[in-house]
């Protein structure tokens, strides 16, 4: 790959948030070569977070969440056609229509899709939905507007909880089932999950924790009418939303020899993909929800995030590195951060709350639903979550970045008495939850197959 990195051919696969921001950044950084963005959805890049919020509330149209461009990236948009293969040796991407797209550098930004209901026959019942795309959201919003008698939400993660919130705000009856002890427990641990459970119940959600859905029932004519639960109960509902987390879109890379698996495509701090032997490539880059990347603040474990902010930040770093010579490349080090709005609460997190053994309520109170919780692991601050207290988050972010000791020092004017007390963080094993976590530490191995190769 001799020559000026600002010239040549770049292909981006995945035409959503990470793909668009990367394309813009490539141009911003002076890339003058040819740029192609491939996306399997027919729509130009659009924003997903509103889909479980404004769109379900009827405040925004499902097909109206298009992402604004920072600048026109002057790219060729190949929309509505998936990439189905990658030949890293000959440096080309295979499209579903049979065409091979050659590249000098490639960016993988294929994100995730909704984890489907495991039983395919039940999954196709009319009234059963998942929520990932704007088409999903459009259909679901329409169904909610029609006024179903009850909505069943399977999974009490962020997406499931937001959907339940929208339903209640529309005056719809809603049941949420969660296999774990409380909603959001996989992301926020014990204390805040209890707060979340209380908030849901106070808003009239029929919340069932510690149960799983064993079967979805149809009326014999293909219409969803209810579900059986593991505790023997039966929920009658007209609509079911399966919110069991996400699956990485890596199938198209199956034969590419990259470190791509169910937890994503592993890459280094500079967003360069690893191959299956843990050797870093120099022409294949990764960004967004599909990636797994090492983070120094979390013992260099590979993080996999489903966070909007990460997709943007990582896309920018990847794009910068794609057009910069080695010594000018930058690491992707930004702290994971996330927000969710539900039941009138603004929940924000920074760091990795699940990377913790203890927590402390550092500001505010649970009763007022306005608080800051700080998470620690082995005596240092690793995360913070605020509820309706976003203006404090910056302060805790600084504590995480500087690996400040946990519990954090006293001094906050609105520090509650409870701040004297550290509590166990109570993060359950994610296998025991319905909802997949939106942030996961996935160990140090770039690829599971690596062990297989070694032992063979």
């Amino acid at each position: 790959m001799a020559g000026d990195p600002r010239e040549g051919r770049i292909v981006v696969v995945g035409a959503s948030l990470a793909g668009l921001r990367a394309a813009e950044t490539l141009r911003e950084q002076g890339f003058v070569g040819s740029l192609t963005v491939v996306g399997d959805e027919p729509h130009p890049p659009y924003d997903r977070p509103p889909l479980s919020k404004q769109v379900l509330l009827g405040h925004a149209a499902a097909d109206g969440t298009g992402l604004p461009m920072r600048r026109d990236p002057d790219a060729e948009w190949r929309l509505g056609v998936p990439a189905t293969g990658l030949d890293p040796l000959r440096k080309r991407v295979l499209l579903a229509d049979g065409e091979w797209l050659p590249y000098d550098r490639l960016l993988i930004a294929t994100g995730t899709r909704a984890r489907p209901w495991p039983n395919p026959e039940e999954a196709v019942l009319d009234g059963v939905f998942t929520l990932r795309t704007c088409d999903d959201a459009g259909r679901l919003a329409e169904r909610l507007a029609a006024g179903p008698r009850r909505v069943l939400v399977i999974g009490g993660g962020f997406t499931g909880s937001e959907i339940a919130s929208a339903c209640r705000e529309r005056g719809l009856e809603v049941t949420v089932t969660e296999r774990g002890p409380a909603p959001l427990v996989g992301a926020l641990g014990g204390t805040l999950s209890k707060l979340a459970a209380g908030v849901q119940r106070a808003h009239g959600v029929d919340l069932r924790c510690g149960v799983t859905v064993t079967a979805l029932r149809g009326d014999g004519m293909g219409r969803f009418v209810g579900a059986d639960l593991s505790d023997g109960a039966r929920v009658e509902a007209d609509v079911c939303v399966v919110a069991l987390g996400a699956v990485r879109n890596v199938e198209w890379l199956a034969d590419a020899g990259l470190a791509a698996g169910p937890r994503g495509v592993a890459c280094d701090a500079g967003c360069r993909a690893f191959d299956m032997y843990g050797i870093v490539t120099d022409d294949v880059f990764v960004a967004g929800d599909v990636s797994r990347f090492p983070h120094p603040l979390f013992e260099y474990q590979l993080l996999s995030l489903e966070h909007w902010g990460n997709a943007v930040a990582q896309a920018e770093v990847a794009a910068h590195n794609m057009v910069s010579p080695g010594p000018l490349r930058r690491p992707h080090l930004s702290l994971p951060s996330f927000w969710s709005s539900q039941f009138g609460l603004n929940i924000k997190s920074v760091g990795v709350p699940t990377f913790s053994d203890q927590i402390v309520l550092a500001q505010g109170t649970l009763e007022a639903r306005r608080l800051a919780v700080v998470y620690g692991y082995r005596g240092r601050v690793t995360a913070a979550v605020t509820v309706n207290m976003a203006k404090s988050l910056e302060y805790y972010q600084h504590l995480i970045e500087t690996a400040a000791p946990f519990p954090p020092g006293p001094g906050a004017a609105d520090r509650p008495l409870a701040a004297e007390l550290t509590l166990p963080s109570d993060v359950p094993d994610s296998k025991k939850l319905s909802h997949g976590p939106t942030v996961a530490l996935t160990g140090h191995l770039p690829d599971r197959r690596l062990t297989v190769v070694r032992h063979a």
């Binding site: 203006k391 910056e394 001094g411 906050a412 004017a413 609105d414």
Partner: protein, 403 residues
Amino acid sequence: MTADTLLERITDYACRPDPYPLYAELREAGRVVRQADGSHLVGTYHEINALLHDPRVSVDPRHGLVRDPGLSEQEQLPFLILDDPAHHRLRTLAMRPFGPPHSPGRVDAMRGQIAELTGELVEGLRDRAEFDLVDDFAYPLPVTVICRLLGVPREDEPLFRRWSDLVVASADVQPGEEAAERARTGRQARVEMGRYLVDLAEQRRGRPGEDMLSAFVNEPDPALRLTREELAETAVLLLIAGHETTVNLITNGVLTLLRHPDQLERLRRDPGLLPGAVEELLRYEPPVHLRRRVPLVDLDIAGSVVPKGEPLILVIASGNRDPGRFRDPDRFDPARVDNQHLGFGGGIHLCYGAPLARIEARAALGALIPRLGAVTLVEDPPPYRRNAMLRGPRHLPIRVGSL
């Protein structure tokens, strides 16, 4: 001169027209610069911003080691100088008739009125060979607006202006012996002004108008009602903050544009730049220069320790000119991108009235800009007000028709 006299030099009236070289000296001298009088100055952007967001940093003067002996623990203070949770409660209650989530459209709905008022004031300047931008335009606009909003008779302006002057003088950062005396008269004025405003509010009890005093006094839910003392302090705060600051933004705006004819011409040709220009003015010539804080614990700021209770002074106007944050900080550029200035502060005390101030400033500058081509400054620099914290010209005499 040594860095430990910076505060004295900054507050010295002689430097009012151009404090910026002193701010540069402050930033050069360090992240935290201890003064001979025991206070600590902070003038770099990132440190100021971090302190504004730090929950261990108080605005309540009663946490200071050195404090005004007249100030009692029980006394009700305005939320400007209260910490959370008391601050949050009062600000939220005060927000109910003014902004979101309860009254999201309130300020937006005033655009028409503000435009009309601006039009009348501009009309009044027509055919004048010379005028004072402050007295004839920049002061009457925000006063009239805040009076209407709160429900205070505009004719009472001479009355509350006197109180307001005393309160503002007492809040200034001015070392010196008269400080105690200024504090005493300031407190006295606050009490009288509060009484006046509560009386006005009481007249509306049961007979509500559209104004905010009416809304406060007629709140049906006892949990959401301000006490008499809270009402007095809040109303005083809003009336003062509402008219002592915007005047400077408008005046500084005109002054800055007249000093930068190329940018004035640019704005005349492209009015779409106006919102950005107002933000740039808030960075480049902010009405509020200094804010006071008190650490609740020993604070480590970029390696220096500021002990608990010692006075911290955030020089926000210096943070706005910090080359460590802004490219070419001493350049006035209405099209500046990434302009996260500190003109309205930051964190939980971020200016309550910022949207109103912005709408007023845009309306004012939007109406004046087309007429500024043919005017000149009578004096440059103009005479300034004494206050170092709320800095702005006392008058801005302008002559129409160049030469």
